[in-house]
């Protein structure tokens, strides 16, 4: 007897069938994180599995950055891309990108941005960071820049993003969560603005030496986003297949996909907070 899950999968396949002309393929774009070259191997592993499960050719490529991923969705070089919440809302606004899935970490489809300092730094409040150096992850990162920065704005310490350079001694973009956290833990800077879980990128001994100075509101987790106009049946089949990654026998494959605990179907409404923040910082009109 077919389970509901199987039934849906079969239905999706039937619905999608007319759109699958011979040689047609689903193209996925991946945003590089720590090591773009390693990601290539991961991409091969996951697209191989998706091809087999979806019964169609699924290929993947690693983009230079978020901008290139959004551009690929716009011009059809990619059908689906993995991206953070901020690039997603920008892509939605500009090109009508559609959210399909959201990542789950530690049981939650959301997380926060934090400002971390060393326990021995004597820094107790955000205001204490005036004139001090801070490392963020990346300028187009919600948890690694915009949300931690917003904590300073909400405290009335800075007026807006442009004012940050007047408040901090030096503001760095370290290139990633890990680099920002290591810079802070090693004493190269006084604070780091990064994801709630970025301290887990430090050694256990380093983790014991840092503390959280402030935490942002919750941010919807990274999303998997489709280009506008992608066949509805293919979208449904992709979502159904990706949700199978939550099953115990498939969970090991999550390591090839930025290592979330799993995925849930995306709800575009939960990104409203990100749109609002993006509007306040002039990213959205």
């Amino acid at each position: 007897m077919l389970s509901r899950r199987n039934f849906l999968a079969v239905s999706a396949a039937i619905l999608a069938a007319p759109a699958l002309a011979a040689g047609e393929e689903l193209k996925l774009a991946f945003i590089p994180q720590e090591n773009p070259e390693k990601l290539l191997g991961d991409v091969r592993a996951i697209t191989g599995w998706l091809s087999e499960r979806m019964g169609m050719t699924v290929t993947g490529f690693v983009t230079f950055d978020h901008a290139a991923a959004v551009e690929a969705l716009r011009n059809g070089d990619a059908d689906i891309s993995f991206m953070g919440a901020l690039p997603y809302v920008l892509a939605e606004d500009q090109i009508g990108a559609v959210p399909l899935l959201s990542e789950v970490y530690r049981g939650q489809p959301s997380y926060a941005g934090r400002v971390f300092v060393r326990k021995d730094s004597g820094i107790e409040t955000l205001a204490d960071l005036k004139g001090r150096d801070i490392a963020f992850a990346d300028p187009v990162s919600e948890s690694g820049y915009l949300y931690p920065l917003d904590l300073f704005v909400r405290e009335g310490l800075i007026a807006d993003a442009a004012d940050a350079d007047n408040f901090f001694g030096r503001k760095f973009f370290a290139g990633g969560y890990q680099q920002a956290m290591q810079a802070m833990a090693n004493g190269l800077v006084d604070a780091a603005g990064a994801s709630q879980y970025a301290d887990l990128l430090l050694t256990p001994d380093q983790q014991a030496e840092v503390k959280v100075l402030a935490e942002s509101e919750q941010i919807p987790s990274h999303a998997v986003v489709a280009r506008p106009g992608l066949d509805q049946g293919v979208q449904a089949r992709f979502v159904e297949t990706m949700l199978q990654l939550n099953e115990p026998g498939n969970r090991h494959l999550l390591a090839y996909l930025y290592g979330p605990d799993g995925y849930i179907a995306a709800d575009r409404d939960v990104y409203e907070g990100v749109r609002e923040t993006a509007r306040r910082y002039g990213y959205l009109k």
Binding site: E37, A67, L86, P139, G175, Q179, Y197, T203
Partner: protein
């Protein structure tokens, strides 16, 4: 418990600091080859073939399945090849160092040329990944340089600029700042890793040339090479303790609890094992084996290593590359003699041998040996309802296994008119306590006597692959094939399958791995173990046993703090750090002879334990 930390990635650090092992993030191919060259180049004798493989094949611990030689210039390749061919350690060190340093400089030049384009960030990332190979050497030798260079990397990344997404979040490129940071790195690397002439290296390290030439002693933390894995087995074996299954609490057995702590303590070993956080439990995860354990240069297969090489205890170095498969310790009280070659009749002597000879520890005290022995004697086999108390198959075994049982008890000419069961005696836990030459080792010289190996138990062997003393056979089926071929047993395919089915029935066990779900987390297990270890303070404090209290605190306090990183309930992490600090205060007071204070802190520890217990998962 030690080494639970299996998921964290420490990208920029060569290895975990402190006593808890962390899996290393993968290395760039050239960095991996360089670090493997340093590690293996310091072994005696130098394993030249393995070093060569580190360059010519994808290296263990490399992020990409690509060999380092494919990423070097022709001139660099010829320098590496010439040094390898000449087996010239110094020349190889110089060539390998130059590969990494020149690689960094080439990527930085490419980044500068590509400034303003997305590729620039990737070139910087590649340069930074290579720089990781030198980082701990610079940090140990010259804190100021480490800071200056660290800031230079921050400046490089920050001045790349970005077009943002659809024009938002754009940052200007700052070519001037980029060039200045580039120059800082180039100057340092040229002076310290590409000098006109390198000083002769007694030990191969990533310490910068200026520090080596100045003669200032540099304390470089012990590291393992890329591809090493000393974290616990991903599927954590289930521990079966006799008293626990019978309903007794370990906290009521202080000698056993203290032995349990020692089994998890790197403090009883000498350097470098102690510094690396290696304990008995590193290889013997929860009484069984750690089939993931691997150290390039020392291990031929995962799940074992050459225990008498030059790395852990040069005094015990036999200069032979003889990998030993780690035996399970399940049911160890029933499996004398000890050591694969059965050289130690007593468990106590074997434990002392591991501590002192294999891992260069101080002579353990009689109390410590009593404690370790008391603990490991509690290890039982996993229950297996497919066999009865006499080792005969029960009705739960398959027909194939039952046919295999008959074969197992059949005498064969090739076995000297004996059966498999003659040595793997079912009613003696499938071993006989004797040693044999079954042809698995070669004589040390023509006409010499090969090492005899003891008959290993077959109980629970489904979970201990690979097989034989050297781990050379990957499956039970391959063991059957080996005996069939080497002893001319004349078994046909069906018979071999039946015999394998029999071994799998005998070798089975219930619930072989620890299950983790929700609040029954890895951390919860660790919490329960570590607080049980601490409970021995109820015995040690009244005895005013400062020595054993110090050992306990040095083991448990850092472990509590380190294991916090794997908590599911990350919100309670700060409480663990505070809790560990109280335990440290017990140790400090005891060391100072302030027993009132030690008692007070211990009371606080217990009160806090009760208060936070529910949140500890």
């Amino acid at each position: 418990m030690k080494k639970l930390i299996t998921t964290a990635l420490v990208g920029l650090l060569p290895v975990a600091a402190g006593a808890t092992a962390v899996e290393q993030a993968p290395w760039a191919p050239r960095s991996a080859a360089y670090r493997l060259t340093l590690f293996m180049g310091n072994l005696t004798p130098v394993p030249w073939e393995k070093i060569k493989n580190s360059w010519t094949a994808p290296a263990p611990g490399s992020a990409l399945s690509e060999d380092a030689m494919s990423r070097v210039t022709p001139a660099e390749a010829s320098a590496i090849s010439a040094a390898l061919a000449a087996q010239d350690r110094q020349a190889l060190f110089e060539a390998a160092t130059a590969v990494v340093a020149q690689g960094i400089l080439r990527h930085l030049e490419a980044a500068e040329a590509a400034l303003g384009q997305p590729n620039a960030a990737h070139e910087v990332a590649k340069a930074e990944a290579l720089f990781r190979a030198f980082e701990d050497g610079i940090k140990a030798a010259d804190a100021k340089a480490a800071r200056d260079l660290g800031r230079a990397w921050l400046v490089l990344n920050s001045s790349l600029g970005t077009a943002g997404v659809l024009g938002h979040g754009a940052q200007e490129t700052d070519a001037e700042r980029f060039a200045a940071a580039h120059a800082t790195l180039e100057t340092y690397l040229t002076e310290n890793y590409l000098p006109a002439a390198y000083a002769e290296r007694e030990k191969l390290t990533p310490v910068p040339e200026s520090a080596v030439r100045s003669g200032t002693p540099v304390t470089l933390p012990a590291t393992l090479p890329p591809g090493s894995n000393i974290a616990d087995q991903r599927e954590l074996p289930r521990l079966v303790l006799q008293f626990e299954e019978a309903g007794e609490d370990e906290a009521n057995l202080p000698l056993v609890a203290y032995g349990d702590m020692l089994f998890d303590s790197p403090e009883i070993f000498g350097a470098p094992a102690r510094e690396l956080g290696i304990a008995c439990s590193t290889c013997h995860n929860r009484s069984d084996v750690n089939r993931d354990f691997f150290i390039p240069g020392l291990s031929k297969y995962a799940g074992g290593m050459d225990v008498d090489g030059s790395f852990f205890n040069p005094m015990f170095n036999d200069r032979a590359d003889d990998h030993l498969d780690t035996p399970s310790m399940r049911g160890i009280r029933f499996t004398a003699p000890y050591g694969r070659d059965g050289r130690e009749p007593s468990l106590r002597r074997f434990i002392r041998n591991v501590i002192v000879t294999e891992f260069a520890g101080e002579e353990p005290t009689p109390f410590q040996l009593d404690a370790l022995e008391a603990y490991v004697k509690q290890f039982d086999f996993l229950p297996n309802p497919k066999i009865d108390r006499a080792g005969r198959l029960t009705d739960l075994a398959s027909d194939a296994a039952k046919r295999g049982e008959e074969l197992f008890n059949t005498e064969f000419t090739g076995l000297g008119d004996r059966s498999c069961a003659s040595c793997h005696t079912p009613e003696r836990n499938f071993r006989d306590g004797l040693t044999y030459d079954i042809g698995t080792a070669e004589p040390p010289f023509p006409g010499g006597t090969p090492i005899h190996f003891e008959t290993p138990t077959l109980r629970n062997i489904n979970f201990t692959a690979p097989y034989l003393h050297d781990g050379s056979l990957p499956t039970l089926a391959s063991v059957v094939d080996w005996f069939d071929a080497s002893k001319n047993l004349g078994l046909d395919e069906a018979q071999r399958a039946d015999l394998t089915a029999y071994l799998e029935a005998v070798g089975d066990g219930e619930e072989p791995y620890q299950a983790f779900e929700g609040r029954d987390s890895v951390f919860r297990l660790s919490w329960e173990e570590l607080t049980t270890f601490a409970s021995t303070l109820d015995t040690l404090l009244p005895m005013r046993d400062a020595q054993n209290i110090a050992l306990l605190v040095d083991t448990v306090a850092p472990d509590l703090a380190a294991d916090a990183s794997v908590m599911v309930n990350q919100n309670s992490k700060p409480e663990i750090y505070k809790f560990a600090a109280i335990l440290r205060a017990v140790g400090d007071a005891s060391a100072a002879g302030d027993w009132d204070e030690a008692g007070l802190q211990w009371s606080q520890f217990k009160a806090m334990q009760a208060e936070i217990d529910e949140r500890m998962y």
